[in-house]
Symmetry: D2
């Protein structure tokens, strides 16, 4: 079975259209929803050290998977609202980051580009 980005994005939009929910999906509310989901994702790592965060229980991993899905769904709605091509923007951002963080300066360093 082939699962393609465009197919999933279309399913996400179809789900909404069948429920007539575009009226509630203004960008302010969508950005709030995404931010709330990001907090729920983060909750899986709270009170852990950075090392411990790499070893999740099965329950935590299931929850993380669902939160990532929710965030992807709200990314899709926001992209659709503003006619943003998410892949193209990600590609541009990586290109910009390559200029900000040249390998010879940034390799192995966790400093912000303004401090390199």
């Amino acid at each position: 079975m082939t699962r393609k980005l465009e197919d999933i994005q279309q399913k996400i939009l179809d789900f909404r259209n069948a429920r007539d929910w575009a009226q509630f999906h203004d960008p302010k509310n969508l950005a709030e929803a995404l931010s709330i989901e990001a907090g729920e994702l983060l909750e899986n790592f709270l009170w852990k050290t950075t090392e411990q965060s790499r070893n999740l229980s099965t329950d935590e991993l299931k929850n993380v998977s669902e939160e990532l899905a929710d965030i992807f769904i709200f990314l899709t709605y926001l992209s659709e609202e503003f006619k943003i091509d998410l892949l193209r923007e990600a590609e541009k951002k990586i290109a910009a980051n390559e200029a900000k963080y040249p390998v010879n300066k940034a390799k192995g360093s966790n400093k912000k580009y303004t401090k390199l």
Copy 2:
């Protein structure tokens, strides 16, 4: 030119590997980064009404595009860390939401499924 999800995800991972940054990219920090970016996204809509949020200036739209890209990049790193198939999880989540929000009950309503 074909731009595919897998290609972009690979570029995102290549960018990191060239800089030896996987060592800093534990899930706790990645989830923090995603949450911080979600806050920066939300800032574009602050002090606006929900109606006003649909009409952004060119500068705001550019900033929104970049924040969505950043969020997508951190989604990619988190998915890779836990070997999560983002599209498959999104598809499962939409299927679960279809069960929680049946069209005949949820159509035109912004109530949570527990209140339907």
Copy 3:
């Protein structure tokens, strides 16, 4: 009965000390906790218009009160960690904001100070 800021802050610290939890309360985790609580606060207003957000149900109001309390508790722990006098900092911040937003320019406007 007199309820004073210092008394409540001391109760918050006593609660922690009795449980030997200072070891988990490094600032990174405290800032995560505060951010997660801020997301839970925001959830009470999700899918509402700005107008609707002024009219909460009794349940929502109770939840908002608890989230504000949680945020205040984490503010207290963070202030204690860094020996920050929260009231003094708030006073300084208001003074700084008075300079950034002079009444004659900012009155009735929701523009950022860089746009005034």
Copy 4:
């Protein structure tokens, strides 16, 4: 000089009233603002380990102080909007947490109360 909670809260409200900003300060926007500030606070600890987060530079400490002040200011506006007594709510929350986390079970443990 005596600096009291009520005095600072009054200054925060006076600042707003002089600028006629209560009209923009609906709870939805205030909760967004608080959440955005919480993200900015968290940014000071990003890419650090939990241990490193206890040792901030002077610049980072100054920034943390300002973010805590901003969060306190938005807590004040939200409390005022809903006529919530922040200290009383914090006191109630600590009492509730004492019941959820009895010392004999919770001492030295970072488990959630549902797992104790």
